[in-house]
C-alpha cells in the first residue's frame, strides 16, 4: 500500500514537472508533447521531462555505484563521506521532527535535496540538444545558418520533413516553473498536510484554519487559507527565480564579455553556490512546513 502511494506520488510529481502551460514569450516551450487526458488537451514540456528522467537515472546510478561494497567493519573513503552526508541530514530531520518520526521522513527529505541539487548542477554539463533519427535531414537552412530546431521544406519540397527524436540539451529542469511547483505541491500539500491529517485527525486539521479560535478565528480564516497557499507559491518561486535568473545572468553577462574566462566565475557563483544554497533552503523550508503538522510532542 505504502509502496503504491509512493509510486503514485512520484508519477504525480513527474507529470506536474513536465506540464507546460501554453503561454508565449520567454517561457515558451520549444517542442511540447501533446496529449489528451480525459478529453482535456495537455502540453508536456519535452525537455523538462527528459531532463528530470536523466537526473533520476543519474542519481540512481551514482548511488548504486557508491553503495557497492559498503561494510560495517572496514569502511572505505567513499563510505565515510556518504555516512557524513546521511548523518548530517539525519540530525537535521531528527531535530525538527523528533527522533522516531524523523527517521520515517528522512528518505523523503534526503531524496528531495539530492534531486534538487543534481537538477541545479546538471546545467554545467556542456551537452547541446541532439536530433536522433534524422537521416535525410538538412541541419542548415537555405541561408546557410545552422537551424536544427524546426522542420522546414523549401520550394522544391526538399529539406527536413520530420524533426525525428530530440534528445534534450542539458539544462536545469528547475529552470521550468513546473518542476519546483510540482515538488512544492508534493511536499507541502501531500506530505505536509497529509501528515497533519494523519497525526492530528481531520477535525484538528480543519480547525487549524480557524487558528486562534472564536470570533477572531472566523475572521482569520481567509488569512490562514491565503497563508497556506502562499507557502506553496513562495517556496516554488524562490527556487525557480533563483535558477532562472542565474541562467539569464550567466547568458547575458557571458555574451557581453565574449565568453572570455568570466563564465567560469559566473557558473561558480550562480551555478554551484546559489544552486547548493537554494537546494538546501528548499529542503529546509519543506522540512519546516512538514514539521508544523508532523512534529512529535515536545520535539
Amino acid at each position: 500500500m505504502r509502496r503504491r502511494l509512493e509510486i503514485l506520488a512520484a508519477l504525480t510529481m513527474f507529470l506536474c514537472g513536465g506540464y507546460a502551460h501554453a503561454s508565449g514569450g520567454a517561457l515558451e516551450v520549444a517542442m511540447p508533447v501533446q496529449m489528451e487526458i480525459f478529453g482535456i488537451p495537455f502540453n508536456f514540456n519535452h525537455d523538462t521531462i527528459m531532463m528530470c528522467a536523466v537526473v533520476a537515472v543519474l542519481i540512481y546510478l551514482v548511488c548504486w555505484l557508491w553503495m557497492r561494497g559498503l561494510s560495517k567493519g572496514n569502511p572505505g573513503r567513499g563510505q565515510v563521506v556518504l555516512e557524513m552526508v546521511v548523518g548530517a541530514f539525519d540530525d537535521l530531520v531528527k531535530q525538527s521532527l523528533g527522533p522516531n518520526r524523523g527517521r520515517k521522513y528522512l528518505p523523503y527529505i534526503g531524496t528531495l535535496f539530492l534531486f534538487i541539487w543534481t537538477c541545479n548542477m546538471i546545467g554545467m554539463i556542456p551537452i547541446h540538444h541532439q536530433l536522433i533519427g534524422t537521416e535525410s535531414f538538412e541541419d542548415y537552412n537555405h541561408n546557410g545558418a545552422y537551424d536544427p530546431g524546426e522542420p522546414f521544406t523549401d520550394a522544391n519540397g526538399n529539406g527536413r520533413q520530420d524533426p525525428g527524436f530530440k534528445m534534450a540539451g542539458f539544462e536545469e529542469p528547475t529552470k521550468d516553473i513546473n518542476v519546483p511547483l510540482g515538488m512544492a505541491l508534493l511536499f507541502v500539500l501531500l506530505i505536509g498536510h497529509g501528515s497533519h491529517i494523519r497525526y492530528h485527525g481531520l477535525k484538528a486539521y480543519l480547525l487549524d484554519y480557524f487558528s486562534p479560535g472564536g470570533i477572531i478565528g472566523c475572521a482569520m480564516f481567509f488569512l490562514n487559507v491565503v497563508g497556506k497557499f502562499a507557502e506553496v507559491v513562495s517556496i516554488s518561486f524562490r527556487l525557480f527565480g533563483n535558477i532562472f535568473g542565474g541562467a539569464v545572468i550567466i547568458a547575458v553577462v557571458s555574451g557581453l564579455l565574449h565568453y572570455i574566462i568570466m563564465p567560469i566565475g559566473l557558473y561558480g557563483f550562480f551555478g554551484v553556490f546559489v544552486g547548493t544554497v537554494q537546494a538546501f533552503v528548499f529542503t529546509m523550508l519543506a522540512l519546516t512546513y512538514i514539521s508544523m503538522g508532523a512534529a512529535e510532542e515536545g520535539a
Binding site: G24, G25, A26, L27, S234, F237, R238, F240, G241, N242, F244, G245, V248, V277, Q278, F280, V281, M284, L285
Partner: protein, 82 residues
Amino acid sequence: MDHGMSQAIIKAAALLGAGICMGFGAIGPGVGEGFAAGKACEGISRRPEEYSTLFRTMLIGQAVSESTGIYSLVIALLLYSV
C-alpha cells in the same frame, strides 16, 4: 491611433515597468541581506568559535529574504516578454 502604435506603447510601458520593478524590488533584499551580514559579522567577532553555525544561519536567512527580489525578477521577466 493605429494598431502598431498602440502595440509599441504597450511594449514600451512593459519594458519601463520591468525596469522600475527590478529597481525598486532590489532595494529591500539589498538592505536586508546587508543587515543580516552585518549582524553575523558582529556575532562572529563576539564568538569566533561559533563561526560555522553563524555563517550557515546567515546564508539561509539571506536566501529567504532574497525571495522578494526574486519575485520582482520573475515579474520583470514576465513583463519583458509581453
